[in-house]
Symmetry: C2
Subunit: 864 residues, 2 copies
């Protein structure tokens, strides 16, 4: 067998790599007798032994990366039937034929070399770059951060659980549980709608007050030459409110920054996001978003609704209110596990989206698309129900605010549906739309790239709380100043009444029933601005104003997203797109002056432009498509919208990922894609697993358990048979989680050896600590207690999911993804645990595309 | 431990049942030393041994059900930690405390007994009923039919596969494969649209000719008293065309009968449906549906479009044309496996729905909802793309047929969107809608129950081909006769012009520019009838005509669905609902004569009625909701539609299952639900698995293989280590499929013992037989060859999914469902295969609800 060599010594990485190109595959049958150079399969070592070998994750990567022992080679086994016997081999001489053929990027795979070369080149590349930048500057999009843990979706079927199940094993309980799930979903919908309507009411009223005030001084001072007054006032108001909002978010719960959608997506994907679903986050999010909008930032309140809805859902699911002083009132605890909370949260996110956009179907899809590996029809119906309730209740409440609750005309916070004409399109317009989609994709990608650079800059240099707050205030002031400057500088007056009769329009230098065209865009909330761009008459906005608006709002949007304030990116994206869409519309109307309909249709182009821009920035999935179509309220126009969304996504994907995905990547959250990356078929479970393992015996000394929890960062420990003949090499008995062990230690469920162990613990004791688990530092053990023995038998999960070491990566991936696992134990043929596959071991293979070709990169796992 | 007894001896079923109520659970700790009465765990027996024990499935159930040996007990293990050691126990004395408390149905679970009691009572019940009816009359909805096999979604990663993968392991190939998938999806969309437009064109033209002819004679004869002429002519035309259509379906491919949607759903769920995706089915389906509609049956052409689209997709995916004479042209074979074909089929079904209803989002959801456990975002995009292409192309083609291809006004074959007023609803109308939804749910359930009785009757007594054809002809004649009778008998004349300007309206006895109101409903295709009911002016249809129409069309609909013709149930359901919805609208208008708008709004009530009726009959899932909303083309009206669909579903579900589910149940197709049924938590893998197993050694005698394939119906065989010390008890090495073995035998990949086995076989040889595999009868072996040995090592799947016997049913279920498995091997602690879980072992636990309470029943597995 060709291949097999020690390389990369100079980089401090010792890897044995077996290269197996097509040649080796075709000749594998003939040279089987020589293939003794492969792969010793590492066995688990008992944790008491000193061991410095490489762990694929955990927080010791940095120190240990140079001390890789012979057992942890990253090997790609050759393609031959002999691999079935690989257990019986010993590692031996590296053969010298190894050759790498790297293509220009050094991190992609060319035609005639294998994944092996790629991986090694990837390592090398990372090493080089690290040296270049110094070790402190991580490459944000090329790493996973080790602090992110998985959710526990799998049920631990230990004796306690089965005992509890017994109690509720009756038709009545099953039906009751079913009903209460529906009831919780109903409450989620209602409460989300209440929240949405309240925010809407407060923002509209206060923003109107603010802009009325500014307008008043503006118009006065335009005559009296005191324009510095409204400018300073505007900047001052923005500064104060925004700084307050930023401080709220920064100090109360930094997780509440931004739209929250990247976090929600990651949570639904199966990643635990500490602090995301707390009451503090709720307060920071909801108050924060009101302040952000009143503070004049280029942001919307729609994205944060998904987050707020999720928090409401998690709170209702847990049935407990936590107060700031550490006390709490508990109502019910039946749903306190990751599985149920995730289901409710799917409903909450859907309700949030639904009440924000009046899009119950889109909201449902939004949730289910992200939680896709767990879709089931029953859950779908519940999510849909809560989404519908939210939409309906929001409609009722906002209609009531507007004066006629039974008319039900406002199903969401933002709608595009108030076109005065029927939206119809003609086939000949499709090429124009496609052209716009390409622009949208390109400018969207530009938005993402610029925001990425800014994010990296912020991560490196603006990471102190007070700097974050100052930056937010600065953006708010600049927003006001620039808007002011444009309104004064561009003398674009119009006598067309604005679409929105509530609009605040300043005359500034305009006279005689005319008003400043830009004032309809800047003296309003971002939603009002979007409405104006979509629905105002053709003559309302001149090309010069629009060009200036697009440029300024684009830059403000880039700068605003990622500030430490609660803010959404939907509305600014749509507004930017609507503005340049209107420009395109004006252009088309000028090209064909004989067709008067085109002037009427300028709103149509604005709508398409908005969709293109949003598609380019967010890379709309199917759910976002549905959301926009539902917002437009006209399905006949759905087809062009779908087409432009797909095209703008493709164009954008050609250049970079979407904004949310960029966020997830920068935070290093190990989300799993829907399918295993290609070209990884010949990796085996034993190649990707973390090892050596930390294992426990079924009866383990308290001291060992305590030390292990303190020293290791693992969250799950295989429990093995206590074999006195071969210590640490027993058959797999089960899996116990860190949280369980901590509760057991806390409750002192142990006894001196030989005595009957105490059993005074129920599943409720474990559940009481959900979701904020104990820390090792909270455990207090005397020396005597440390010598005691804990019987793990009743507590570990006796049937964890396992795979044999020969399992290929794609199948391991499907298993992990399909079941939403947290730990997957890799065993050898004798059912002894060899290693553990966790989320990060799989998420580190990321697929991307570069210039139309598929590319795979292996991410590094770092501490921060 | 209480419980544990031999019962049911009188019924010929020997079961040891361990009852473990709450009492046993709470005292499990104290009496552990006595619990020696449990459960010997059966080991696999080598197939050469004679064995008459019960197999959970296979075609021998009938003979073997009374000869259950001691090993195959259906045991429910008690809740205690000692179960981990259950391997070491022997069965012993049954304790006498066993009690059953059955509730009135005898097949549901009451509060204080366990699943055990339920299962045994179920068995007893089935036995009783069987005796009552005689063994020949199966209880159609209480059984699974053993002939249905699973699809192979799991990849067999044997050496051949890995070798082939090596070849295509490059960026170029991955990208090419990715592109060709998109290309195939594009072609699917285009071809489905072409088909839809062609069918639409042909049906519209021919139906118009037919009804024009009848109308002509009708009007003439009404004056000249020769009404028997048009009656006979109408019945004659119907008879001839319908009999031709029925004969086509019955003789060419019976799978083409009905709408095909129950089959498509089952296929996407993972069940192999032989003949479903063949060219013959395509011809029978498409020509058949044209003939059914021209033959005057109460059916639509929309449902069959999903089936036709799927066949197109499967054909394009396979890249092969099979001719009738057994020859075929093969274009490409890369996608010839169940996994890829299923993906394409999802696109095909979506395209079909999309071009039928102009509902690209609904179509996508329709596919993905059914194939939900396999949803991934990449696939979603492809399906959405093909769905959108289909919608767009259909729109273009039908618009072109109507004269203006660039106007794009007809996105699907049927639309509800041509309302002359804006669809708006007021909150006060919601109670009326809810009332209608309840009616819809009840009448829908009545439809299903009546059709079920009819289906059972057909299965028992009308199972000859010629009887089926005669029945279809009879229905067609009766349809014509009844329509004729109503038009002559009910003298409802109107002078309102019908909505559709192409409508054929007969005057019959009406004079002076008036026409017979019922003629607009009967002298047209069912779609035309639906359109008339939705859009005709208030005065067009009188209450008497509508009542008569509803009754007649309901009965005709029940009678038509299930005939051996290609027909859909969407349109008749909608038409029935629209008719009684219109009645409700007329009633409301009469109650409130002061509100003239209500008369205008009669179409709104018709639309809601249609949705209610469809929801009641089909139990709309979320996808159907979206389809109807997309058809209505107005999202603001989406909310009441969603509400009535949910309510009609709930009301209907309270009584019986939906029509498609009823179909699936009657056919005994083992579809898996989305979640494991409740109350089954204490069943273990070892309880549900089929055993004993038929196993092979890694080197097996050809004779043994041949005999096993001939004698057994298993489709997968575990391969075990050849342990000379304990024959038939080796460790699990892999899994080999029946299809693989048949190909190996056919290609004679064996040799005399001791020689080097031939290797002249590639993965393409296996693929060439997809999807119609070899039969044992096609294998021809000489006696000498039978003494040879086959080396299975390069061909079996070396890493099949396995679970330990202790796995609980819910987790086995999730694994099976989440990964779309066909075989799941149950092993003991030493990694020796003990049994196999297949789809039917899981599908036999069916959850239902009875009077609002959850109920579980265990289905029987029968041969037909």
């Amino acid at each position: 067998m060709p291949g097999g060599s020690s390389i990369d010594k100079d980089l401090g990485l010792k890897m044995t790599v077996h290269l197996d190109g097509m040649a080796s595959a075709s000749t594998a049958d003939t040279n089987t007798t020589e293939s003794t150079d492969t792969v010793s399969v590492p066995h688990p070592v008992n944790v008491t032994g000193k061991d410095t070998r490489h762990r694929n994750h955990g927080n010791r990567v940095k120190e240990e990366i140079t001390v890789i022992g012979p057992e942890s080679k990253f090997h790609v086994t050759p393609v031959s039937e002999e691999e079935h016997e690989l257990n019986n081999r010993v590692p031996s001489r590296p053969t010298p034929e190894l050759k790498f053929e790297l293509d220009d990027e050094g991190d992609t795979l060319s035609n005639h070399n294998s994944i092996t070369a790629l991986l090694s080149s990837k390592f090398r590349d990372i090493q080089k770059r690290l040296k270049q930048y110094g070790i402190e500057s991580p490459r944000f999009r090329k790493r996973l951060v080790s602090k992110w843990e998985s959710l526990n979706y799998d049920v631990c079927e230990n004796v306690l659980y089965i005992k509890e199940q017994e109690k509720y094993k009756s038709k009545k309980w099953v039906t009751l549980r079913w009903l209460s799930k529906w009831l919780v979903m109903f409450s989620i919908g209602i409460m989300t709608a209440l929240l949405a309507a309240t925010i809407h009411f407060v923002v509209e009223k206060l923003a109107h007050l603010k802009f009325d005030l500014i307008k008043h001084y503006f118009d006065d001072c335009a005559k009296n030459n005191c324009l510095y007054q409204p400018a300073l006032m505007w900047m001052g108001i923005n500064l104060v409110i925004t700084v307050a909002g930023a401080a709220l978010v920064t100090f109360l719960q930094p997780m509440a920054a931004g739209s929250g959608i990247p976090y929600i997506k990651s949570y639904l994907n199966g990643v635990k996001i500490p602090g995301l679903l707390t009451f503090r986050a709720f307060v920071a999010k909801t108050l924060g978003v009101v302040m952000s909008i009143l503070g004049g930032l280029a942001c919307g309140k729609e994205g944060p609704m998904a987050h707020s809805g999720s928090i409401i859902a998690a709170g209702l699911g847990r049935g407990r209110i936590n107060f700031c002083n550490g006390k709490s009132i508990s109502f019910y605890s039946a749903f306190r596990n990751d599985h149920e909370i995730r289901d409710f949260m799917a409903g909450g996110a859907a309700s949030g989206v639904s009440s924000a956009f009046g899009a119950p179907i889109g909201g449902t899809l939004f949730s289910l698309e992200e939680a896709a590996s767990f879709w089931n029809q029953d859950l779908t119906w519940r999510v849909f129900f809560s989404s519908m309730v939210a939409c309906f209740a929001t409609n009722f409440l906002i209609s009531a605010i507007n004066g006629d609750p039974t008319k039900l005309t406002d199903p969401g916070l933002v709608r595009f549906n108030a076109f005065k004409f029927d939206l119809k399109f003609d086939l000949i317009e499709i090429p124009v739309f496609i052209f716009m989609a390409v622009i949208g994709g390109l400018s969207g990608a530009l938005f993402v790239v610029m925001n990425y650079k800014l994010t990296v800059f912020r991560k490196r240099y603006l990471n102190k709380n007070w700097i974050k707050i100052i930056e937010a205030g600065l953006v708010a002031m600049v927003s006001a100043a620039v808007a002011f400057g444009l309104m004064v500088g561009i003398n674009d007056c119009t006598d067309k009444a604005p679409f929105d009769s509530h609009a605040v329009t300043a005359a500034v230098y305009c006279t005689d029933k005319k008003h400043n065209s830009l004032s309809t865009l800047f003296l309003t909330t971002p939603e009002g601005c979007l409405k104006a761009l979509l629905h105002d008459p053709f003559e309302s906005h001149g090309p010069v104003s629009l060009v200036a608006f697009v440029l300024i709002f684009f830059l403000l949007g880039v700068w605003t997203y990622g500030l430490s304030v609660s803010s959404g990116v939907f509305i600014p994206s749509l507004a930017i797109g609507a503005a340049w869409g209107r420009l395109v519309g004006i252009g088309v109307a000028h090209l064909m002056p004989e067709n008067p309909n085109l002037q009427l249709d300028v709103g149509k182009f604005a709508l398409i432009g908005a969709a293109c821009q949003l598609g380019g920035i967010l890379r709309t999935t199917i759910s976002l498509t549905v959301i926009i179509v539902e917002c437009t309220d006209d399905i006949s126009f759905g087809l062009p919208i779908m087409i432009v969304l797909m095209i703008s996504k493709w164009v954008g994907d050609f250049i970079t990922t979407g904004l949310y995905d960029m966020n997830v990547e920068v935070m290093g959250i190990p989300t799993l894609p829907f399918e295993c990356p290609p070209l990884c078929d010949d990796l085996r479970a034993s190649d990707v697993m973390s090892h050596p393992l930390a294992t426990f015996k079924t009866k383990e000394k308290v001291e060992n358990i305590y030390r292990m929890l303190k020293e290791e960062t693992f969250c799950g420990f295989p429990v093995i048979e206590d074999d006195p003949m071969a210590p640490g090499k027993g058959k797999l008995k089960g899996l116990i989680l860190r949280n369980q062990l901590l509760v057991l230690l806390k409750k002192k469920i142990f006894c001196p050896e030989g005595q009957v162990p105490p059993r005074n613990i129920t599943i409720k004791d474990f559940r009481d600590f959900y979701p904020v688990y104990l820390k090792v530092s909270e455990i207090d053990l005397s020396d005597e207690e440390k010598s005691y023995v804990m019987d793990l038998k009743p507590y570990y999960n006796p049937s964890p999911y396992t795979v044999e070491q020969k399992f290929s990566l794609p199948r391991v991936f499907n298993l992990f993804r399909g079941l939403g696992l947290r730990h997957l134990i890799v065993t050898d043929e004798k059912n002894m645990p060899m290693g553990m596959v966790t989320r990060k071991d799989l998420a580190k293979f990321r697929v991307g595309s570069k210039r139309g070709l598929v590319k795979i990169e292996q991410l590094k796992i770092e501490d921060k």
